[in-house]
């Protein structure tokens, strides 16, 4: 009986290990570091950045449901490493970044930074996964632990570790993981003044 109990426990443990491993890091990440963008070239709403692994489109950024329409809204390569990678990185102002991987992926993770709010707190940010959109009043940091994605199109869980890194910036990593058996086909992030670098896709 004791032997049986022991074996049962080992079996349960084995199953747990297998299940855990099936959701562990994907076999490979394919990353894009924004290094090939021409310095000084500005991208505005509607512009497309073609990369090896995904099509990235500049989209409007929303606050309280209203899109920012200022003519100054844009994205451009910046010779900085505020997001935490190596220079250059992509600097974004009043725009969102819609990412459609060339094939559905199980994970997307990226380095990012966000300028602090008027009160020195986390500033408003946008996210979209598989068609479900949200505004996050307390920035990318507040997205941590949330599930997102239109049912039937693929749900995913957000992991965000975004912390104060300098007087004006919060920076860190945001990762979106598809629920088991599901995939990410579309992913959008947006903010007022923010940076992004080293965006990786897990197959």
């Amino acid at each position: 009986m004791k032997q049986f109990k022991k074996m049962t426990l080992w079996s349960v443990a084995l199953v747990l290990v297998i299940v855990t491993n099936s959701h562990a890091a994907p076999a490979q990440y394919q990353c894009y570091n924004f290094d090939d963008l021409v310095a000084g070239k500005e991208y505005t709403v509607g512009d497309v950045i073609d990369t090896e692994h995904a099509t990235i489109t500049i989209k409007p950024y929303f606050t309280n449901g209203t899109p920012a329409t200022a003519t100054v809204r844009h994205a451009e390569s910046a010779p900085a490493n505020i997001a935490g990678g190596t220079a250059p990185e992509l600097s974004l102002y009043l725009v969102s970044l819609n990412v459609v991987p060339h094939q559905p992926v199980t994970r997307i993770k990226t380095l990012l930074a966000q300028n602090i709010s008027q009160t020195g707190d986390f500033a408003d940010a946008n996210i979209e996964v598989n068609g479900e959109k949200h505004e996050s009043p307390r920035g990318f940091a507040q997205m941590n632990g949330k599930s997102i994605g239109k049912p039937g199109k693929g749900r995913a869980k957000i992991r965000a570790t975004v912390l104060p890194t300098s007087a004006n910036w919060h920076a860190g990593t945001l990762e979106v993981r598809a629920k088991p058996g599901e995939a990410i086909e579309s992913f959008t992030l947006g903010g007022h003044t923010w940076r992004v670098d080293d965006m990786c896709f897990g197959l």
């Binding site: 309280n64 200022a70 910046a78 600097s91 009043l94 709010s117 008027q118 408003d124 004006n168």
Partner: protein, 139 residues
């Protein structure tokens, strides 16, 4: 018949009056916006206009041109005082300052806009001061 009509008339008048008061608020006079210039490149800025959401207008964004005001790095500057239409005793929020900064060659940049600022006390009244709003970045 006349008795039946009278209350209806009163009711319509009341609706009309309440509708009229909901449609237009008075002008909120001599409103000042304070701006602190903490530009990350320590640039001088010029305050050009102010945008805010007006609760009375269903949260629509309202733009107010202010007399251009230069503001040196590190300073807190105040706009001259503006009369805001349809804003008296109305909550104003998501206030943003439109500014430009001085380039290294002495020319002015294009216009940028700060992140929204929502004050603790939002109601506009004559002589109200909002802010300070902080200019930190313009890229």
């Amino acid at each position: 018949m006349q008795h039946a009509q009278f209350p209806s008339l009163l009711l319509s008048t009341a609706f009309a009056l309440s509708g009229a008061s909901a449609a237009v608020a008075d002008t909120c006079k001599d409103v000042v916006f304070k701006v602190t210039n903490n530009h990350f490149e320590e640039r001088q800025i010029e305050i050009r206009s102010v945008k805010f959401r007006n609760r009375h207008r269903g949260g629509a964004i309202q733009s107010e041109d202010v007399p251009n005001k230069l503001c040196n790095y590190g300073a807190t500057c105040s706009t001259a005082g503006d009369n805001l239409a349809d804003a008296d005793k109305v909550d104003l929020y998501d206030i943003q300052v439109v500014f430009r900064h001085k380039n290294h060659d002495g020319t002015w940049s294009r216009e940028f806009i700060t992140q929204p600022f929502t004050p603790t006390y939002r109601k506009c009244k004559d002589g109200k001061q909002y802010g300070p709003l902080v200019v930190r970045d313009s890229n």
